[in-house]
Assembly symmetry: D2
Homo-oligomer: 266 residues x 4
C-alpha cells in the first residue's frame, strides 16, 4: 500500500471543512439526528434540541437501505427536503445517505455531505461517481470489510479527484451476539497512525443498544477518533427505525459535554 493517495506518506493529514466546521482538526465533531427522517415537525424538534446540545452536523436518513424490501424505505427526496429546510433553519450542515447514482445530482442541491453506507462500501461505480464531486463524502466501513478494503474504497474516491473523504467506523461482524456488532477501535488507531483521512465513529450501529452508546463514544474519542455520529430522537422509543439504539436529546447533551472535557485532557 505504498503509493496510495490515502497513505500518510503521500501527504499531509486531510482536514475537511463544511460551513466552518473542521473535521479532522483539534476539535471533535459531533454528528447526530434520527435514523429516519419522519416528518418536518419531528425533525425540527430534534434539530432544535441537538443544536442547543452543541451538535455540529445534522444527520437524517431519507433513502434507507433496509434488509427487507417490505420495511419502511424512507421518505426519499421528501425527506431530503425536510432535512435541508431544518438544517438551514438551525444553521447546521446536513448529511444523508445516497445509494443510487441516479439520485446524486438532485440530492446535491439538498445536502452538504454525501454518506456512502456500509452496504455500499464496495459499490465501485458509486464510489467513482462521488469521486468526481466537490463535496465531502462520509464513507462508512462495510460490516465485514477489512481495514485494507475500506482504505481502498476511499482510494477509489480520491483517485477520481475528491480528497474530502471522512471515514466512519460502525462496528464489524463477529461471533459475539450480545451486541449488534463489535466496535473496532484497533482499526481507528491504525487509521490515525497510518492514513491521512479523518475518522469518526458511529457507536449506535456498533452497539445496537442505547445504554452503552455514551461509554463507547468516550472510548472512541479516547482512542483518537475525530468525531462521532450518533442516532438520536426527541422520543427514542417512537423512532420508526433503529429505536433500540437511538438516544435521547438529554443523552446527547451529556455526550457532547463529556467529549469536550475528554478532548482537553487527552
Amino acid at each position: 500500500m505504498e503509493n496510495l493517495l490515502v497513505d500518510i506518506k503521500s501527504g499531509d493529514k486531510i482536514i475537511i471543512e463544511v460551513d466552518g466546521i473542521k473535521i479532522g482538526g483539534p476539535e471533535k465533531v459531533i454528528i447526530s439526528g434520527p435514523c429516519s427522517i419522519e416528518n418536518f415537525e419531528t425533525m425540527y424538534k430534534i434539530a432544535k434540541g441537538l443544536k442547543a446540545a452543541g451538535v455540529n452536523i445534522l444527520r437524517g436518513g431519507a433513502f434507507k437501505p433496509r434488509t427487507s424490501p417490505y420495511d419502511f424505505q424512507g421518505l426519499e427526496f421528501e425527506g431530503l427536503n425536510i432535512l435541508n429546510q431544518v438544517g438551514r433553519e438551525f444553521n447546521m450542515p446536513v448529511v444523508s445517505e445516497i445509494m443510487d447514482i441516479r439520485d446524486l445530482d438532485r440530492a446535491l442541491k439538498l445536502i452538504d455531505i454525501v454518506q456512502i453506507g456500509s452496504r455500499n462500501m464496495y459499490n465501485y461505480p458509486l464510489l467513482k461517481e462521488v469521486g468526481k464531486l466537490n463535496v465531502p463524502i462520509l464513507l462508512k466501513r462495510g460490516m465485514g470489510a477489512t481495514l485494507k478494503e475500506w482504505i481502498m474504497s476511499a482510494e477509489y474516491i480520491m483517485s477520481e479527484g475528491n480528497s474530502n473523504v471522512i471515514l466512519c467506523e460502525r462496528g464489524i461482524r463477529t461471533f459475539e451476539d450480545s451486541t449488534r456488532n463489535t466496535l473496532d477501535l484497533n482499526t481507528v488507531c491504525m487509521l490515525k497512525n497510518n492514513f491521512r483521512l479523518p475518522i469518526i465513529v458511529d457507536p449506535s450501529h456498533a452497539a445496537g443498544l442505547r445504554e452503552i452508546v455514551p461509554n463507547l463514544s468516550y472510548a472512541a474519542i479516547s482512542a483518537g477518533a475525530d468525531g462521532l455520529m450518533i442516532e438520536s430522537h426527541i422520543n427514542p422509543l417512537s423512532s420508526v427505525s433503529d429505536s433500540r439504539q437511538t438516544v435521547s436529546i438529554q443523552t446527547m447533551i451529556n455526550i457532547v459535554n463529556k467529549v469536550k472535557c475528554l478532548n482537553i485532557n487527552l
Copy 2:
C-alpha cells in the same frame, strides 16, 4: 420470515431454464470460465476446452470489482462482446457480472444471466432494477452476509417480479487465514431445506487455492448444491486475476465427471 416469496411455504421450488439447461432440477449445472476475459483467442480456447469437458454455462468477468482502483478493471463491453461471440460459437449460455445500473440495458443484449457480485449483494437499487428484468440473476452471497440478509436480497429481486434468482455461496469471512474464505455448506443445506431458489457453490473464491477446489466441489454437490461455478483457464498460472485459485481444463474434466458420478449415488 413467514410470507416471503423466497420461502418454501410460499410455493414450489423454482427451476430456472436457460437455453434448455435447467438450474435447480435433478441435473447438476456446471458454470466455468476465467476470472477475467482477457482476449478473444484465450476465451475461445478456454470455452472450447470447457465445452468438451461437459461444462454447461460459460462465465467470464468483464466488469471486475477490484479492491484497488489501480488493478485491472476488466475489458468492460469489449469483454462482453468477446464472451457473447464465444458463447454463441460453442452454443453455451454466458454469465457475467454487472455492477452499474447504467450498464444493464446494453449488457442484456450480450449475456444470458446477470451476475450480482458479492460486493453488490446489498446494493438495493441494483437489485430492484434487475428485479424488473426477465433474465436469470445469479446472486452471490456477500462475504460478511448472513443467510437472512442474503435471502432478503433475493426477495428484493423477486418482489419486483423476477423469480429467476440463482443463489451462489462463495465462502464467508472468518478468523481462519489459511484459506481465502470459509466455504459455508451449513447455509447451503439450510437454503435447500427452507427456501425455493436453486443454490450453486463457487469453491474457487471460497478456497483461494486451486488444489482444494475439486474436493470442495464434491463436498458442495454432496451437501445438496444444484451446481458449481468454478474459475478455470487454459493456463491458470498466466490468468490475469485470481490465478492462485484458477484450475486447468483437465481439472474441470475431472470435476465434471466425478460430479456426475456423485449425483447418481446421492
Copy 3:
C-alpha cells in the same frame, strides 16, 4: 511449520488401528452415540442399534464440559463403566472425553480412545500428558482455533511420543447465526493435503440442527474426511443434552449406507 512431526514432509500418513478398525485408511470410520451417557439400558439400546447400522466405534459423554456449572455434568466414572460394558457387549471400541489430568489413569482402563474436547484444545498440560500415553487421542478443534494452532496442539501430543492422534473438525465460530457453528471443510482439505494425521468430521456440533446432519456428513466424506462422529440416540427428543442436533438410529443407517456408496465413487 517446516520440521513438525505432524507435517507431511516428516513422514508417511498415519493410520491408527483400534481393535482392527483402521482410521485414516481407505475405509471411512463412523463413530456414533449419545451426547451424554444416561443409563445402562438406554446406552445398550443405542449401541445395539448402531452396531446393526454398521457404526464402527461407540461414543458417549461421561465428563460433560457444560457452559453452565448448573447444567448436568455427566455420570462421570459411572458413565465410563456403562460405556465400557456396552462396548464390550457389542464388540465396539469406545471413545469418551476426559478433561481432568487426574482422571486419566482410571479412565484408561475403561475407554479405547481418549477424546480431548474443543474447550481443551489449548490445555497444554493435558495435551502433554496424553502425549505420554499409548492410546489413540481424538483431538477436537477449538471453536475459535486456527488450523495452525490446532496442528500445533497435535504436535504437543506427538512431541511427547504419541503419534496416534485423530483430528476432529466440529465447526468454527462465525457471524452466521442460523446454525450453531460453521463447518469448515476448507480446513479438512488443507489437513489432508499437508499433514499426516487422519481427520474426521463432527457434523452434529457444526450444524446444531439434526435435519442437516446427513447432508453435511456426505459433504465431509466427499471433501476427503476419513470418517464421521455423529451424535445419535434411540429417541433424540429425549436426549438429556444436545437434543436438537441428535439424530435417530434410522438416520444413522441411512448415513452409513450412503457414506459407503459415496466412498466407492470418490
Copy 4:
C-alpha cells in the same frame, strides 16, 4: 441468566482487595510487567521502573502457554520465585498464569493473584479448583468466547465459593488481520452494566502492536474498565516473547499519568 451469582441482580458490585489495592473501586488499577520472566536482574529493573511509574501490580509469565511446543515455555517455578522476590522488594502484589492444577498449591506460596489464561477459560476442572481457593483469580476471556460463556466460566469459580474474580478482556478473533485481535469494548460496557465483577482490559494482546497500546488503554478506561494489564519491558525489542506488543517503561509512565487524568474527568 437470572439467578447467577455473577449477575448484578444477585448482589452488590464486587471489589477485590490485594495488599490494600482495590480492584473494581473508584481508582483504576494498572498491572504491568514482561510477557515472560527472563531472569532476576531484568525483572528487578522492570519492576523498579514500573513502581516508579505508579503501576500497582506486577505481572510476569512463568508458565507460558505457547502455540508451539518448541517455543520457550517459561522459567516455571524458578520464574515464580523471581517474581515473588522482586514483588516483595518493591512492595507490589504479583500475578502470574497457572495452567496445571497440579502446580496450584506450590504456586500459591509465591503469587498473590492467579491468572487463568485465555486458552484455559473453558478448562472447567481448573476453574472449579481455583474456585475453592481464597485468592483473587484473574480470568481472561477466551479468544473465541462469547460474553455469556465467559460469564459462565466466572460462575464456575464463584459457584465453588470464590467470588474474587477479576475479568480481563484481551481481544477476540475476527476476520480483521491488520491487528492481532479485535478489542471488544462493547463487551466491557455490557459487563459493567449487567454483572458484578470488576473488568480490566489487556490492550497488548488485543493490539499485537505496541504503537496503538496507549490509545487503546485510554479507550478502555473511557469505556468504563476498572484497570489495565499491559506488557512492558525495560527493553521491549529484546523481550523473549511478544516483543512486538511490549511497551517501554516510559510509555507506561505516560499511560499511568493519562489514565489518572482521564479518570478524574469521566
